[in-house]
Amino acid sequence: MMGRVYRFVAFAGGIALLVAALKLLNWLPLAAQKDLLKEYRDLEDAREAAGIETVFVPSYFPQNLSWPPSMIWAQGTPFPALLLEFGKPVGKETVLLISQAESESFFPGERIRFLEVKQSVPYSLKGREARLQVGVCPGGETCAGIAWKEGKYHIVVRAKTSPIELIRITESMLR
């Protein structure tokens, strides 16, 4: 019986060491190369790490949202990208996502996931060709998203809000 317990503890200890080694392996590239995707506290640091000159941020926020973002992700490699996430003041629920990246593949859509897209239409956003999507998020909330190209950057904004509110937010990002 003691042998069995000893072996179980030894094996569990081995697994714990393995997990620690994996975490270390996961951290090493970040230590060696500063511009890999990671989380930042400060937008300016994130902008510098990503090597993005102009960051498109809204000047208008609906009542339930405020500056600063609850989470900032940025990377310079393999391509410059920046992600701003805004949550409700109470709780951790994400209600607005703004992504600015050189590649179209960069967008963590799962953080505000469309359960169903009800409408997807072209939209002229201050003279830019954009695509506006309106749908339903899990829980039956109305969600809206808009995507367009601004110079070399693909910008995607998605929010748990009405399309009108979303357009107000995005228009405040552009001069």
């Binding site: 094996f11 081995g14 994996l22 996961n26 060696a32 190369q33 890999l36 995707l37 490699t77 799962e110």
Partner: protein, 332 residues
């Protein structure tokens, strides 16, 4: 960017994650084998099968459970995110992780092609043709008959080749048989010949089961995976030990088999890897050195006595299985 885009795609992610999952499964299985002191080759082989089979299905299975597993959010929370290493650029120019991965996969694929696939195809084609030299049934040869008569019950067919070189091999499939040369019948004493033939009988009987073919096909799916390459070889080595155990059980003389192995494989002193050789010669020398080590470990095992199956193997297997599935889920 093209290389990184491929690695980001579904096939690229399958390639990367199957390698990582098999490496991690290999480490966990090894830990379980060591912790529970499992030495029985039959049980060791079952554990090692996990390292071959699991990574074939792990990625699609995990994706089916959680389609968001490839997402940025999941990667940020993962235990190990391969994209960090694959995006790692040396001096900001060379994506060393991605280039290294492609190199390793390329070399592994070539090794698989030339050392496993082509030899198997060649062996299959050759075994369809009749043996070039004259042969006769063991029952018709007085020396071979003496060996066969020692075995109880019915056994696979034994053929005697009219060849003075020492040769002993078996063919697989439903009509698998054992072939022994006249030279070998004369070179070894009867009890050693009997032990060696019993070992080949075990191969024939194991070769009749389709599970080995299925395993080889699964292994072939991961032809690019260096961990699969190494672990498959370990499985083959464990198979030799299983056949040793079978022969020792059947004849009751493990020492005779150990002696036969010594005389057949360890009499010629192999040259150590030295200077002034080509890379191919060095590789061959290294491979023959590794083969020699394997034969020596089999001899040592037979001389020490065959270990019986240990206790708590099922518990070890269940724990190792859970650890493999859970940790790999967070390796993307």
């Amino acid at each position: 960017m093209g290389l990184l885009a491929f690695i980001d795609s579904y096939p690229g992610a399958y390639l990367v994650q199957s390698i990582l999952h098999s490496a991690l499964a290999g480490i966990i299985v090894e830990m379980a084998l060591k912790t529970w002191g499992i030495r029985n080759p039959r049980i060791r082989q079952r554990f090692l099968l996990v390292v071959i089979v699991f990574p074939v299905f792990s990625f699609p299975l995990y994706q089916a459970i959680n389609p968001g597993r490839m997402s940025l959010s999941f990667r940020m929370e993962a235990l190990l995110d391969s994209s960090r290493w694959l995006s790692f650029h040396l001096w900001g120019i060379v994506p060393v992780g991605a280039v290294g991965l492609i190199l390793v996969c390329g070399v592994t694929s070539l090794v698989f092609l030339f050392q496993e696939l082509l030899p198997v195809v060649r062996h299959t084609l050759e075994s369809r043709n009749a043996w070039p030299g004259p042969e006769r049934r063991g029952a018709e040869d007085p020396e071979a008959k003496r060996v066969i008569d020692m075995f109880p019950g019915s056994r696979p067919e034994l053929f005697v080749l009219d060849d003075e070189e020492a040769a002993l091999f078996s063919t697989m499939g439903r009509s698998g048989a054992v072939y022994i040369s006249k030279g070998l019948l004369r070179a070894l004493p009867p009890e050693q010949v009997q032990a060696a033939v019993a070992h080949e009988y075990a191969h024939v009987q194991r070769g009749r089961r389709p599970v080995l073919l299925v395993l080889f096909l699964l292994r072939a799916l991961l032809f690019f995976n260096p961990v699969t390459l190494l672990e498959f070889r370990r499985i083959v080595q464990e198979d030799e030990k299983i056949c040793d155990d079978y022969a020792a059980d059947l004849t009751g003389r493990p020492a005779a088999l150990a002696e036969a192995l010594k005389r057949l494989y360890l009499t010629e002193r192999e040259e150590k890897a030295g200077r002034g050789k080509t890379i191919m010669e060095e590789m061959e020398a290294l491979e023959s050195y590794s083969h020699r080590l394997h034969i020596e470990s089999r001899i040592e095992r037979l001389q020490e006595g065959i270990p019986s199956s240990g206790k708590g193997e099922w518990f070890a297997a269940i724990l190792a299985g859970i650890a493999v599935v859970l940790t790999n889920y967070y390796v993307v």
